[in-house]
């Protein structure tokens, strides 16, 4: 069952991603991005990261995407949509991406013997995931958490400074 879910979420993710970067209209791209991110969220769920699943849905899909759509409306992409969507180097980029994919594949194939992880620890119980997360977050990762808050503050201030006409 997990397998099936994994494949469907994986396909959803990748398909969404591909469509994101190929759609002509930015709005369509944004929607497909949502689809892709939801696929990722599904993968999170499969790995028993319920809290992150929630974060992904709420924050990303609810937050970032609104922001994107907002900007799309703001900067009026009508004209941009009429022009060519890909730049002149797309074929080169595609070739590079394929080569890298090939390389990764090759590396992994060749060194599959070496590809060993430490033995897996028994999966944590399904219950209490959020609690454990909170525990870790506020004990071990208290510092990054605080820093992240500054980061967000900077982001807020920064985007305001940038976007406002006059300050």
């Amino acid at each position: 069952m997990d397998t099936l879910f994994f494949y469907s979420f994986a396909v959803l993710t990748l398909l969404g991603a591909v469509l994101t970067i190929t759609r002509k209209s930015a709005v369509h791209s944004a929607i497909w991005l949502i689809v892709s991110l939801m696929g990722v969220a599904g993968l999170f769920l499969l790995q028993h990261a319920e809290f992150l699943f929630a974060v992904q849905i709420v924050l990303y899909i609810g937050g970032i995407m609104v922001l994107f759509l907002f900007v799309i409306m703001l900067v009026n992409l009508e004209e941009a949509a009429r022009e060519a969507q890909f730049n002149k180097q797309w074929w080169l980029a595609l070739a590079c991406a394929l080569i890298i994919a090939g390389e990764v594949f090759f590396v992994i194939r060749r060194g599959s013997d070496a590809f060993q992880l430490p033995p897996s620890v028994a999966p944590a119980g399904q219950e209490g995931n959020v609690q454990m997360l909170a525990d870790a977050l506020f004990k071990n990762y208290l510092l990054p958490f605080e820093v992240a808050s500054i980061l967000l503050l900077v982001a807020i201030v920064g985007s305001v400074v940038m976007a406002k006409k006059r300050i």
Binding site: V104, V107, I108, R110, G111, S112, A114, F115, Q116, L117, P118, V121, F138, K139, N140, Y141, L142, L143, P144, V147, A148, I150, L151, L153, V154, A155, V157, G158, V161, M162, I167
Partner: protein
């Protein structure tokens, strides 16, 4: 584990707290009391923040000087040791000088806002974590904090297309590289099950060098980090960002950001990945050589001095990487010495360009420097010192940095690299001296006719400090060397 926040934690974190506190205060100050007559206050608060930071760093330094190796905090995710203090002092000096030179410059550009000062301090806060972090998460978040601040600062001249463009390019490429870095970090985590660098090192040391996942992780981590220090071929953001950014930010970016990026690079390569040295060493060699080649050659054709300095900073990154290539005590110490020296000389050179910016004159083109010596001999002479230092000619400090790199290379038997690196010194002289020529030899009246330089007490103080130190470190380098020695290897 039981205590969430111990006294040690506080002691370690104090500089960051100061920076964050004053930084946030500055951000808020502008919101609350925005207005034209508050600008002196902004400057004072920012300087006070740096003072407080310096004080807390000094306390740490005193502690370290007592012979304590490292002070761990937050379960080892943040440490204070000689290494972190060395870098923090660099950041502090850099931020201090950047503040000094910004005031008048922002006035002229018409973008004088409290956010700027706040961002300077918060960026330094990010750098603090890059120097002290021992944990992938802390490092990553610190890196992003710093980067975000810089994205905004680069684009701070919102009304100017060049600034917008630079910020956007920097952001897009920075984001791109962060993506790779995050991916690399995720794999490092995956290989070890921990985000602590020491644990990672321990787990990785047991793996074979051909482990594909490890290689994938190293590769992606590496490109992320090399991007940050603007080493070729991941350097291409640097010229554009440097050129488009406000010059004071260019100064900060080229020195502070680079030093911080070197801090994280060294931490990761030396603490987390020493066992994979044979895998990354050849790459670093190639990257260093490419940086020297591209940085120096491309600089030759530049007429914009900021852009020229950007390319030269790429080549400087190449030199510093050669210290990592040598990898021995001398090499690492060499990087530290080089960074210290580079801080002052590069800041100095850029602050002269800052002073060149005045009404109607951009002051970034080589031709605009023509005949500078007639009108402003002091500036011209100081610029000469900085340029000589950048080129690595004794008795300026820059020579010391290069000397250490050569020392390390020769000591470890990398003769070929040493020869190539030394030959690029000659190339560098060529383009630096185009500026010298413009300032001293060309006699066109362009400068004499122009209004006087945008000099201010801040710039003068900064010029004095950087110039004096650049010369002093060149003639009496013992303190710098000893400092680096004691910070890194006691």
């Amino acid at each position: 584990m039981t205590d969430l926040y111990t006294a040690t934690d506080h002691f370690v974190l104090l500089p960051a707290i100061m920076l964050a506190l004053f930084g946030c205060a500055l951000l808020l100050f502008e919101f609350v009391l925005g207005g034209r007559d508050t600008r002196n206050w902004l400057m004072s608060i920012a300087l006070a923040g740096l003072g407080a930071t310096g004080w807390s760093l000094w306390r740490q330094q005193v502690e370290i000087n007592k012979g304590i190796d490292t002070i761990n905090a937050f379960n080892g995710s943040v440490v204070v040791d000689g290494f972190s203090l060395l870098f923090n002092w660099i950041f502090l000096a850099c931020a201090f000088i950047v503040l000094l030179i910004s005031y008048r410059y922002l006035e002229i550009e018409g973008e004088h806002h409290g956010e700027y000062y706040g961002l300077v301090l918060l960026a330094q806060c990010g750098m603090f974590f890059l120097a002290t972090g021992m944990d992938l998460v802390t490092l990553f978040i610190g890196l992003e904090l710093m980067a975000l601040c810089f994205y905004i600062m680069v684009g701070f001249l919102r009304g100017q297309k060049r600034s917008n463009e630079a910020a956007l390019k920097y952001l897009l490429l920075g984001g791109f590289s962060s993506g790779f870095l995050a991916f690399g970090f995720s794999i490092l985590y995956g290989l070890s099950g921990s985000t602590n660098l020491h644990v990672i090192a321990e787990k990785i040391s047991g793996r074979s060098a051909t482990d594909p996942v490890l290689l994938l992780g190293i590769a992606t981590t590496m490109v992320g980090l090399l991007f940050k220090i603007s080493a070729a071929p991941f350097h291409m953001w640097a010229p554009d960002a440097y050129e488009g950014a406000p010059t004071s930010v260019t100064a900060y970016l080229s020195v502070g950001s680079k030093a911080a990026s070197f801090a994280i690079l060294l931490r990761i390569f030396l603490v987390a990945l020493p066992s994979a040295r044979e895998a990354w060493l050849p790459v670093i060699i190639v990257v260093a050589m490419l940086s020297l080649l591209i940085g120096n050659l491309a600089a030759i054709a530049q007429t914009n001095i900021k852009r020229l300095l950007a390319y030269s900073s790429i080549s400087h990154a190449g030199y510093m990487l050669l210290g990592l290539v040598a990898g021995n005590e001398t090499g690492i110490k060499g990087i530290a010495v080089y960074l210290v020296v580079y801080t002052f000389m590069n800041l100095g050179a850029l602050l002269v360009i800052v002073a060149m910016r005045r009404a109607d004159i951009i002051g970034e083109d080589v031709d605009e420097f023509a005949g500078l010596v007639h009108k402003h001999p002091v500036y011209a002479v100081f610029m000469l010192i900085f340029l000589l230092s950048l080129a690595g000619i004794p008795p300026t400090a820059g020579f010391l940095g290069k000397l250490y790199i050569f020392l390390a290379l020769i000591e470890t038997g990398h003769w070929g690299l040493a020869i190539i690196a030394s030959l690029f010194v000659a190339v560098a002289i060529y383009y630096y001296f185009r500026i010298v020529r413009s300032m001293f030899i060309r006699t066109e009246a362009s400068e004499t006719a122009a209004p006087p330089l945008a000099s201010s007490w801040g710039i003068r103080v900064a010029l004095g400090i950087t110039g004096a130190l650049t010369l002093l470190f060149g003639i009496f380098p013992e303190p710098v060397i000893r400092f680096a020695q004691e910070s890194l290897y006691r």
